[in-house]
Amino acid sequence: MEMPVPNAGLLARKPNIVARLSAVLPPDALISDPAETRAYECDALTAYRCPPLAVALPSTTEEVSAVLKICHEEGVPVVPRGSGTSLAGGAMPTADSLILGVSRMNDVLETDYENRIIRVQTGRTNLSVTGAVEENDFFYAPDPSSQLACAIAGNIAMNSGGAHCLKYGVTTNNLMGVTMVLMDGTIVELGGAHLDAAGLDLLGVICGSEGQLGVVTEATLRILHKPEGARPVLIAYDSNEVAGECVSDIIKAGVLPVAIEFMDRPCIEACEAFAKAGYPMCEALLIVEVEGSPAEINEQLALIKDIAQRHNPVELREARDADEAGRIWLGRKSAFGAMGQINDYMCLDGTIPVSSLPYVLRRIGEMSKEYGLGVANVFHAGDGNMHPLILFNANKEGDLELCEAFGADILRLCVEVGGCLTGEHGVGIEKRDLMVDQYAPEDLEAQMAIKDVFDAQWLLNPAKVFPLAASETRRNMAIAAE
């Protein structure tokens, strides 16, 4: 992965910069010893690593502002960081950058059940937001699989999704306001406990901007009352096409399940070997979950079963109790872990129009033969978000590169059928160079123009999202101005 050459001037001025930053932070909040900065050299895209110049771990918005002001004056690139679970290399440092981590900022600032909001510092983990309101039967809806670890900061930066977003939407649909610090240290408030923007919807652009427009320190989030209950049904088919038709028919019938998960044969086999969930061996497995009171659940499941039967399933299994429901989800939830047991794997994240599912799966199968690498598919079928897992051997010379080339081809295929490069993980460094496959130069220019306004020197997370060639002039201007 190509990264910009680190700025030698900054590396030389490290002691100075560290001294200035230490002066505005509590004693233990600045890490500059190379042995310790190593802990921040990568995120969950572990194939790429680079220790940063230093790491700042502020505790307040004011400290974040003070740090950014200094970096702005010194021309130091800043890489914001939540919990470092990005799968796209979004939080990967460069050698001349400061990692600005919000992990110490994890307070709940306000819970307000009447207005259904919670205000938190953004270092708080996704699951502990729900944890803070659970005793009153409320929850925060976006639920990425990494929710135990990932922070609201990263969720906002990546506009993260979850298994239940067919019904509840992704982060942007549940985010009402932020406190954010601009690169020059200015603190701005966007949104709040009210709906919709007074003018331009800047909050809408901040969400998903991958830490390139500002450092988000506080967030107002929508919380919801939990549904009375939820129950899944498992439907097995002997062809991907038929499973795809079943999904489409369920949606057309007016049922809106909270989740429709899809697994193909390689994935089912791996899950079985690992978790022994008792899945039937077949080509395509659907897990469909609905919510409501027991009677409402029955009503919806009856409709779904009816539709499923029309497509002649190999098996149709309903959960009669919590235990059986747990078993239906068991395999799916352990899918990534299962694949990890068998092999090294790379997890992709493209989205396709649901209607092209059978075609895309067929093409992926063909490409898998061409590349000689196995692939298993897990898929949020309701919304078209695919997670093909490409299996490779990290210890085998050239296998990673081969795997990346295969991955890039799959993502190009997603774009070709009318979809996109990433549904929830973000672009980061991983898909940066594929952006030209989805966007014309004018499209990228329009996006980069936004960054010009928020961060004229291109100091915030500069080598991400846009192909290096496309952002080169802008990044160099920053260095020249220094």
């Binding site: 992704v170 709906l195 003018g199 989205t351 209607s355 078209g384 978000n385 549904g423 973000g426």
Partner: protein, 374 residues
Amino acid sequence: MTSLKPQSEAELAEAIKSAKGPLHIRGGGTRRTGAELGQVLETSGLSGISLYEPGALTVVAGAGTPLAEIEAALDAENQRLAFEPMDHRGLLGTTGEPTLGGVAAANVSGPRRIQCGAARDFMLGVRFVDGQGSIVKNGGRVMKNVTGYDLVKLMAGSQGTMGVLTEVSLKVLPKPETMACLLIDGLNDRDAINAMTRAMGSPYDVTGTAHLPKGLDGTPVTMIRIEGFNDSVAYRLEQLAGLFPNHALRRETDPEAVAKGWAYIRDAQPFHGTTGDVWRISTKPTDAPDLAAKLDAKEVFYDWSGGLIWALTPAGSDIRAKLGAFDGHATLVRASGTTLPLFHPQPAPVAMLSEGVRRKFDPRGILNPGLMTA
């Protein structure tokens, strides 16, 4: 001056490139507001549904497509635009056909906004021509997409000041089998807000909460809407009723009557045919009664549990001055010849960012100039 009526995206780009002065962008012309400076640019030539996949819950259409055409197509498949866009004609006394582009550019949404989101939450992708004549696309037609910055949200509600939309893709949702409304009579504003927030905070998936201090018969009525499959709606209606034991309750279960009642709220019908200014104030629901009391309004009513105050005020009355600083913003929807800004002035750093972004997309300041900024 004759109006411009480009028939394609390329023609539109050419028209904007060669424009010598301000352009006033018009979809259906149902929301005439502001000074409307410059030559009229109509989007009606960019019309038609190009893709509709009911099984994928997606529709893509030209920005000039009449909303009615889209709604009819969806209706045939038993689907709908869940964000329930308002029809401004009755309130503003305008004619014409609301267009998809107008709805998107103004981020128009109705009572269901509180449960499922605004137009911006259903917009999956846009194509537009910016103020320099560049054709830009962002987003796409799939439901999950985090590829690059989300300019779709930025275009939603930008009122044509960033670019002229040419195409919009939307997520649509199934129509419910039925709907019902729980009505509570006689509550004062504060108690009504309490009842509505209580309903929204229940597990019964309420899709609308509104309060009319003066209902059709002149007495207060609070409305709580639920939608879905028949048995489920019947069940939830009773569960909700159970939350309000000592209240004067009525149940409306005729779907047509329910729809009519909510169109009354959605389109601000209480203020049709009145004189004076009409404001929409977005705020925190529990702050609403106190804010409303400061307005010296002729009449108010509440949507979104109180999160949206509709106020009818004497012409020219500066309610922003009366409200002072508060969590939210006030938009002047029907201005009777006043010089007040239509959109709420923003704090300095936010205003600067917005202006900066706008200047990037429209450096000459020719797209609906003065509409969003004073």
